[in-house]
Amino acid sequence: MSLEDASLDVSEGELLAVVGENGAGKTSLMNVLYGLYQPDAGELSVGGQPVRFKSPRDAIARGIGMVHQHFMLVPTLTVAENVVLGREPTRRGLFDLERAISEVAATCARFGFQLEPRARVDTLTVGSQQKVEIVKALHRGAQVLVLDEPTAVLTPQESDELAQVMRGLVAQGRTVVLISHKLKEVLGVADRVAVMRRGRVVAEVRAAETTVGQLANLMVGEGPRHGTEARAPTSLAGLSPAASRVEAIGAALPEAAVPIPGGQVTTGMSALALMGGVPPGAATERPVPSSEGTGPTGTVALAITGGTPLEASSERAPATSAGEALLEASGLQAVGDNGRPALRGVDLTVRAGEIVGIAGVDGNGQRELAEVVTGLRALTSGSGTLLGGPLAGLTPAKARERGVGHVPEDRLRRAVVKALSVEENVALGRHTRPPFARGPWLDFAGRRERTLALLEAYDVRPPDPTLPLARLSGGNQQKVVVARELDAKPRLLVVVQPTRGLDIGAVAHVQAKLREARAHGAGVLLVSLDLEEVLALSDRVYVLFEGRVTGHFTRPDYDERELGRRMLGAGTGHA
C-alpha cells in the first residue's frame, strides 16, 4: 500500500534526492532497494543487471549501503570496532584490533573523514556518529549510499559538513541517494530530485532548475482537490484504498518542473534502476500519473461518480458562524522529547463550531501542540485559556473534565489498551462517570448497553464488546476510539492523524464524524500531516514551521502554493 508503481533510477556519480511528504513512500522505496522489503511486483537492477535482494546482506554484496535515520551503532565499542562489526579481521581465529584500526583509518583517509578509530562511539557527537555510519557502509564497499533523513538529527553546521561529505563522495564516483523533506537543503546539494507522492514518483527535476516553491507544490500536489477525494461510499468497500483514490496531480505540474516523459530518464550509465509495481517486461513505458490516472498495473484510479462533492455547502455552513472561543492561546512554548524547543511561541484560537487544521511538515511542533492542549505536555512559557480554565498546569484528567476529547496520533500506545476488551476500551477515560460507573463501582450493565449502541452506530465489526481490542482491525479500532471520544460530547476535540493507515471506508467514516461533531457545535483541532485532509476538513488552517505559526488561512482562501511555502518556512525570515 505504501508503494505503488514507483520507478526511479540513479546514475553513477550522481547525487539524487528523493523528497515527499510523510507516508509518500520514500522510506519504503529505499527499504526495497536495501532488501528489507520485497516488492510485490516490479524489478530492480544494479549496473544494468536485474537483481533480487532477499535481505540487506544481498544488497550490501551488490555495493549498496544504507545509513538509517536511527543509527545502528554499538555505543560502548570504538569507531573501528563498529565499522568492522560483522566482518572483523582476524588473526589466528582471534579478533585483530590493530588491523581493524589501521584498515578503518585507511578508509577514513581515503574518503577524507576526520575520525579517530580508537574513540568510543558514545563519546562522539551525533554528527560524528553519522560519519561512522557512512564510513561503515563505505568500508563494506558501498558504491551506492542511501541516506535516510540524515540531517534530521544534525545541527545546521553538521548538516553543511554532511553536504560537503556527500559532494566529496560523488566526486569520487560514488552514488548517493538522499532521502529528505528539507527542500532547501536538498536543492543545495543534489543533482537531481525525485518527488514522491502517494507511493509514486510523480516528477523528477534538475536541482539547478528548480525552486523550493516548485518542489513544495510537486510534493503536496495541486489541482481540484476539494470534493474529489473519495469519501465513504460504501459501494467502494471492495476496492483497495490506493485504487479508489482519485489522483489529481497531472494538471498541477508547474512549468519549470520536468515531468518524466513516458520513459526513463537515464543520464549516463545507469547505476541503478528501480521499476516498481510493473511486472518486468511491461515496464517499457512508465506512466506519469495523470488526472486520468490509468496505469498499466490495473490500478484504476476511480472517478467517483455520484461522489457527493463532499463539501456540499450545507455541511460547511456552521463554519462561518463560529461561536465562542474554546481555546485561546498566546505565546505557547514547550520542549520536545529530545529536549529541544518544539513550540516557540504559538498563538491560536479555536471556536465552537469550527474545524481548525494544523498543517506542517512532520516534526514542526504539531504533535507537541496537541499534547499541550490535552494536558500531556507541560508548557514552558506562554498562556492560554481552555474551556474556561488556564492552559498552564493542565493534566489529562483536568482536560477531560473540562470537555476535551482526544484522538491521539499513536493509537496503540496512547488511545487504547490492546489487551483490554472493546467495552473496557470504550470506558477508558470515562470509567468514573455513568453509565460506566456507579459510585466507586464499575457498572457492567450500563457499560455493555452503551458499548453495543456505539458499536452499532459506528458500524464496528465485529460488534462484540467482550473481544480483546487487539482482535479488531486498525480501522475498527480507530472507530472505537472516535466513538468513545465523540460519545463523551466533547466541547473541544483534539484529533491527530485521525485517518492514518485506515482504509478508504474508515477514512470517510471518521471524517464524516468530525464534520458531525462540528455541526453539533464542538470545536475541532485537527492535526494531520496529510495536507489534503487538513484542507478538505478545516474551516481555518494554521501552518506550523519550527514551532511557530508561519501562516493562517481561512476557507475558501486556501492558496496552496502559499501554504506550501509557509510550511517550509517562507514568510518568516527563517528560510
Partner: protein
C-alpha cells in the same frame, strides 16, 4: 466461559506435567510402585487420611493434615496475591520475602509489647504488619517512580536489607526477647495471648483465623481489580501505561498504591505466620514463602483467584510432603513439583501458541474481520 478456561489451561497442564515428571523421577530411582505409594501418602498427608477415618480412626487423621495444608495455603495465598497485585500494575515484585519479614516483625512487636483486648489486639497487629510490608514495598515504588530504578533490582536488594536488618540486628539486638527465668532466647518476646490468632477447630488442628482471612483477601482483591474504578485503572496502567495516562488516570498514584497493597499482602503473610504459628519472630524466619509467592502467582496466571487456587493445591502437596518420608522419599518433592510447574508455566507462551495454531487452522477467516 471458554475464554477463562483457556486462560487456566496452561497452568493446569503445567502442574500435571510437573506431577508426571516427579513421579517418573521417583519411579526411576526407586520403583513405580513406590512412586505411586508416595503420591498417595502425600495426598493423605494433605487432605487427610479419609480411608483411615472410615476405618474408625479419630477425626484428627483428617483435621490435622487439612489444618497444616490450610496454614501453608494461607501463607502462599497472601504472598501469591502480593506478587499478582504488583503484576497487575505492571511491576514484578520479587520483594515479597522482605516485605513479609518486615510484616512479621511488626506483628511480633505489636503482639508482644502492646496490651489490648483481643478484638482490637489482633486487628492492630495485622494492620501494623500490613503497613510495614506496604512501607517496604513503597520504597521500591518510590525508587521506581522518582528515580527510575527497576523494581526487580530494588526489591531484590530490599530483601537482603530486610533480612540483615531484622535477623542480623533487631532480633538478636534491641528486640531480643527475654525469657521469664531471665536467660536470653533467640527471637523476639512471645506475643500476648490476646494477639494470637484463634484456632478455629480447637485442639483438632492448627487451623486458625489466618486461613479464612487469606481466602477473603483473595476475593476482595479480585473484586477490587475487576469491579471498581480504581481497580480498572490499576489494570489499565499495567497493560498500557501511556494510554492510561492519556485517559486521565493518575499513573504514578495507581502504581504506588498497587505496590503498597502488594507489600501489605506480603506483610500480612508475615503476621499470619507470627500470630498464628510461631508466636513470636523466631531467630530467623525460615521458610521463604515470599519467594514461593512468585511461583504461586505465575502458576495462578497472576489472577487473585488463580493464585488462591494454586496456593490451595500446593498447600496440600507441601503439607503432605512430609508423609512421603515414610517411604524414604525426600520431603522436598512437593517443592520440586512447584518449581517444575513454574518452569512449565513460564513456557505458557508456547502452550498458548500451540493452542492458537490449533484454533487458527480452524478459523483463519474469522480472526480478521475484513473491512469497515
Amino acid at each position: 466461559m471458554p475464554e477463562r478456561l483457556r486462560q487456566a489451561l496452561p497452568s493446569v497442564l503445567s502442574v500435571l506435567l510437573a506431577l508426571a515428571v516427579c513421579w517418573s523421577l521417583i519411579a526411576l530411582t526407586m520403583t513405580p510402585g513406590t512412586a505411586t505409594a508416595a503420591y498417595v501418602e502425600m495426598l493423605w498427608g494433605g487432605i487427610g487420611n479419609w480411608p483411615a477415618w472410615l476405618n474408625g480412626a479419630a477425626a484428627t487423621v483428617i483435621t490435622r493434615p487439612l489444618g497444616e495444608a490450610a496454614m501453608k495455603a494461607a501463607l502462599l495465598t497472601l504472598t501469591g496475591l502480593s506478587v499478582a497485585v504488583a503484576f497487575k500494575v505492571g511491576l514484578f515484585n520479587i520483594g515479597a520475602q522482605g516485605q513479609m519479614i518486615l510484616g512479621a516483625l511488626a506483628a511480633a512487636v505489636v503482639g508482644a509489647h502492646v496490651s489490648l483486648p483481643a478484638v482490637l489486639h489482633i486487628p492492630a497487629a495485622l494492620v501494623a504488619a500490613a503497613l510495614a510490608g506496604a512501607a517496604w514495598a513503597g520504597l521500591a515504588a518510590l525508587l521506581k517512580l522518582y528515580r527510575g530504578v527497576h523494581e526487580v533490582i530494588s526489591t531484590i536488594m530490599l530483601n537482603w536489607v530486610a533480612l540483615r536488618l531484622v535477623d542480623n540486628w533487631l532480633v538478636i539486638g534491641p528486640l531480643r526477647g527475654v525469657a521469664e527465668g531471665g536467660q536470653s532466647i533467640t527471637g523476639t518476646a512471645e506475643i500476648q495471648a490476646t494477639a494470637t490468632l484463634p484456632r478455629l477447630l480447637g485442639e483438632l488442628s492448627r487451623l486458625n483465623l489466618g486461613f479464612p482471612l487469606a481466602l477473603l483477601l483473595a476475593v476482595v482483591v479480585w473484586l477490587w481489580l475487576e469491579r471498581t474504578r480504581t481497580g480498572f485503572e490499576t489494570r489499565a496502567v499495567g497493560l498500557g501505561a501511556e494510554a492510561a495516562r492519556t485517559a486521565g488516570v493518575p499513573v504514578a498514584k495507581r502504581t504506588g498504591v498497587a505496590m503498597a497493597l502488594a507489600g501489605a499482602m506480603a506483610g500480612l503473610a508475615g503476621a499470619v505466620l507470627v500470630l498464628g504459628t510461631e508466636g513470636r519472630y523466631p531467630g530467623t524466619l525460615g521458610a521463604p514463602y515470599g519467594f514461593d509467592g512468585i511461583a504461586i502467582a505465575l502458576i495462578g496466571n497472576n489472577h487473585p483467584l488463580g493464585a488462591m487456587g494454586a496456593a490451595l493445591f500446593f498447600g496440600v502437596l507441601r503439607a503432605g510432603g512430609t508423609r512421603m518420608q515414610l517411604l524414604d522419599v525426600h520431603k522436598s518433592f512437593p517443592e520440586l513439583i512447584q518449581g517444575l510447574a513454574l518452569l512449565f508455566v513460564a513456557g505458557r507462551m508456547v502452550w498458548l501458541a500451540l493452542l492458537r495454531r490449533h484454533e487458527a487452522a480452524a478459523s483463519v477467516a474469522s480472526v480478521e474481520v475484513p473491512r469497515a
